[in-house]
Symmetry: C2
Subunit: 201 residues, 2 copies
């Protein structure tokens, strides 16, 4: 019985492999991608950090600019500090409801955005992460047209990853890869669990 | 005009901050979470790796067992090798359509699962990641009841993160935090782009 099951499985897998190999063989393009992580669920920033780690391990140069988070003692900051090929720049001043000063938020956003533009233009960077950029676009702290212009001028080899909920449609339209993180269950909302090291920061 | 807009914004943000502070104050529970990353979109493993990096940076001990991926030269492996407080164990032998041997896949799964159980039971681990565990559950290489039993016996302080598409309903039911990664746009499917360093491995 177990043998029959194994044989049927193996025959099926042979067909799956043939189909899979054919698909892989048809994929030959290598190019820098515009990647967007959006949606109300968790994991948007974490997934970008995971990609940064992969790139760092491949000796690629990575630049990370955070638009909302300020310089708090995060776990990723401690790890990135050990590597020469990553620049980690938390350039926000907290969430907009914390700062309570729109004019200041716009200024802070401008400084961070200039840093992202510099990294996109500098050929030494292989991957640029604009963390929570969608948030400042959503609040109109930065015109989306400026972002589209910078992306249109992106070097072919550079990957750009943009995170944050409520990605504008115009950004999704130019992206190569868009993932929507959807919330199925969240302990913050349902169980009174607070933000914890290793999970949220 | 700009002043009026700023003032209206600032007043609104004052209210948002009051509401937000109230919510944060009500969250007092600190506990090890059962976290599931599922869905057909990208970022499930990357987000788990991002959490691992945060935990490593906070001097937590992290154990990572990969059920499907074998010991290929990934970027994350190179980074993790530099830290004493992470054990990274790619214990798979490729995708099931590559191995084409169900009996062998079941054996390999068993060995990897015993390693996860060891980490869950060992109080020195703060975070345990079972990468692509959902895949082997889906193929019935491991009974989901064994996983539920191990999770029920989990130490309060330990976080367990399980990734892979098609998470079983029974697993979602016991999880504290479930994110579904949904595919909006994917260059593999649509543009003939191949797997690239820093993005997929």
């Amino acid at each position: 019985m177990a043998d029959t099951r194994d044989e049927a499985h193996n025959a099926k897998m042979k067909k799956v492999k043939a189909a899979h190999d054919k698909i892989v063989a048809s994929k030959t393009v290598e190019k820098g991608l515009i990647i967007v992580h959006t949606g109300p669920g968790k994991g948007k920033t974490s997934a970008a950090l995971g990609m940064a780690i992969r790139a760092i391990g491949h000796d690629m140069k990575v630049g990370i600019v955070q638009f909302v988070k300020g310089a708090m003692a995060t776990g990723e900051a401690a790890v990135f500090a050990k590597f020469d090929n990553v620049e980690f720049k938390p350039m926000g001043e907290g969430f907009t409801w914390e700062t309570q000063n729109r004019a200041r938020d716009v200024e802070v956003t401008r400084v961070a955005w200039e840093e992202v533009k510099r990294m996109i233009a500098d050929p030494s960077y292989d991957m640029i992460i604009a963390d929570e950029l969608n948030i400042v676009l959503r609040y109109d702290y930065l015109p989306v047209d400026e972002v589209l212009e910078a992306l249109a001028g992106k070097r072919d080899a550079a990957h750009v990853i943009i995170t944050g909920r409520n990605a504008p449609d115009a950004l999704i339209a130019v992206a190569d890869l868009v993932t929507e993180m959807a919330l199925v269950k969240h302990p913050f909302r349902e169980q009174g669990v607070k933000a914890q090291a290793g999970i949220e920061f």
